[in-house]
Symmetry: C2
Subunit: 336 residues, 2 copies
């Protein structure tokens, strides 16, 4: 199967759809397409959205998308892609994301493209596939790419690394505010959203989040600087971003314009401080290094005579030689 790259770059939905499937299935055609699309990427703003089930995360994602379509700040509607990923627990049975009935507002709009991805393979594989899909959307001219993930586990943290701006969604009455934060979620949040703000317990949830934020940023007056970069003191050269907390009621669209404003502030912060360029550099370096490693291992495996690896591994398992000696033998650095 060959992929029509010019049509993908033109934003043709059918061609895009095909290339997304090839990437998701990690076919040779998909890999080839990614290589060709790469030089056309780097223009989209990647927004990660993560939160436990029940926080109303998907409704919020829809509202954010609708806002960029119908009420953009600069008056010019943005093309929006949504990648919904469910790295569900191995024993949960895999609740499938993408109950896209609720997406009525968005369907039929040619400026919106939604792609759901069920959990498959390893964590690393999932993060890699997500990165591939995002790259294709970026090359196809989508200016806003929303990456929606469930929960607050290691998978979400991995996927969040890809995003420029990460929203963490909480809601009152789930009883796990503190726990979610324990799991390392504060480290990835650029903006905290308390959705379902009309529910009882909202003050309590927000207070718990504030306390945790305060612990994470000791000595900093976090709440006086809602989502505006501040100079913390005279010793720091760069303004510091402290995660603001935004209340929303996604079902009514309340708080969404304010949230969009915070996202814009965060993007400006990333650009002005050079953080965007630094993150981009770090991400591409990591990708390049991983590919080099894979290529080196593949080349070495090709050069290995049949059965040599198993034979030497057996010696290690029998404790006849150490792993260190095994490496010497397998790389041909030592006579056997």
């Amino acid at each position: 199967m060959t992929i029509d790259i010019p049509s993908v770059l033109d934003g043709n939905r059918l061609a895009l759809s095909r290339v997304l499937s090839q990437i998701e299935n990690d076919t040779p055609a998909g890999q080839q397409a990614l290589a060709e699309l790469f030089t056309h990427t780097g223009n989209a703003h990647l927004i990660g959205v993560t939160g436990a089930p029940g926080t109303g995360k998907s409704s919020l994602v829809n509202q954010i998308a609708a806002h960029y379509r119908h009420s953009p700040e600069d008056g010019s509607p943005k093309k929006v892609a949504i990648v919904a990923v469910d790295p569900s627990s191995p024993f949960s049975g895999g609740a499938v994301l993408g109950d896209r009935i609720r997406m009525k507002d968005l369907t039929g709009d040619p400026g919106v493209f939604i792609r759901s991805m069920a959990s498959r393979g390893s964590l690393g594989g999932l993060a890699k596939t997500t990165a591939g899909l995002v790259q294709a959307f970026d090359a196809a001219g989508f200016e806003i790419i929303l990456i929606e993930t469930v929960g607050a586990g290691q998978a979400e943290v991995e996927i969040a690394r890809l995003a420029h701006t990460t929203l963490v969604i909480e809601a009152p009455g789930l009883g796990d505010d503190i726990q979610a934060i324990k799991a390392g979620i504060l480290e990835i949040a650029d903006i905290l959203v308390v959705n379902k703000a009309d529910r009882p317990g909202i003050d309590q949830t927000e207070r718990a989040l504030k306390n945790m934020l305060q612990l994470a940023h000791p000595g900093r007056r976090v709440f006086q600087h809602y989502g505006k970069p501040i100079k913390q003191n005279n010793y720091e050269d760069e303004p510091v971003w402290l995660p603001p907390i935004q209340r929303t009621i996604a079902t009514e669209g309340k708080g969404v314009p304010e949230l969009i404003g915070l996202i814009a502030n965060h993007k400006a912060h990333l650009t002005n401080t050079g953080d965007l360029a630094r993150r981009e550099r770090a991400r591409l370096t990591a990708e390049l290094d991983l590919r080099i490693e894979e290529a080196l291992v593949a080349r070495w495996q090709d050069s290995l005579s049949d059965g040599k690896y198993s034979q030497i591994l057996a010696q290690v398992i029998a404790r006849e030689i150490s792993p260190q000696q095994a490496v010497q033998k397998l790389l041909g650095l030592e006579e056997e």
Copy 2:
């Protein structure tokens, strides 16, 4: 610094202490020692013990150690090593493990060796260092090695992979039973311990754990088979191990003999089914593959001309070439 390997193998405490420090600091002498000690390993039973702060985990570890010293099943006291690891959160300020005052019962006993390790470096680094310490204890003739970690994060899961038998400790009234399990702890538990069994809420905690276990093993009658391998049905060749729940009161030693019995059952299960050999094989294969990868990358880096990597990385960042093309250039597979 040279290390006196024969003295380490003889169980000399001073020599052992020195080699542990070299391994912890990842010095060339430490690496050399690990290579030499390797062929003397494979005899210890590695027991992982993990649980949130406040579960009384350390007291329980002490009681387990004391039991193997003073009341072993076969009448012959075992040499016991304790490796206490605290992979504390990057922003918690790093509570230091090893409040070893409570270890009065054990100090002065030449058959016990305790080593605390504070968090340092990356997660992978921590798991690797722990594996190194365990290897040294194993070679030095310690028959029981207890690996104690705090909490239920990714770090604990990584470290638990090293253990043959993993105990997960809970306690009533911490309010996070369900959450801890959410974080993937059930996947690593071979035995669940509810400590502080004299506290209010014990029934509730145990019920929550049972429910989660039932979800994790659908259709299996988990609780009829406390810690004894069962044949689940006629389609399975091997007996299945379902994690039992054991109540303990560590401060009084209650439930500890029963817990030791369950650990022995689990070890017998691992041996009889061949699981022990399979795990060992998988672990050594992973270690060998990682070392080969590192060696291949190091060799490639040595062969690279100065500045070539940065120059090609810059082209990727500028989106002039794709990462795929960069690999071709960096591995010399394509003319520039």
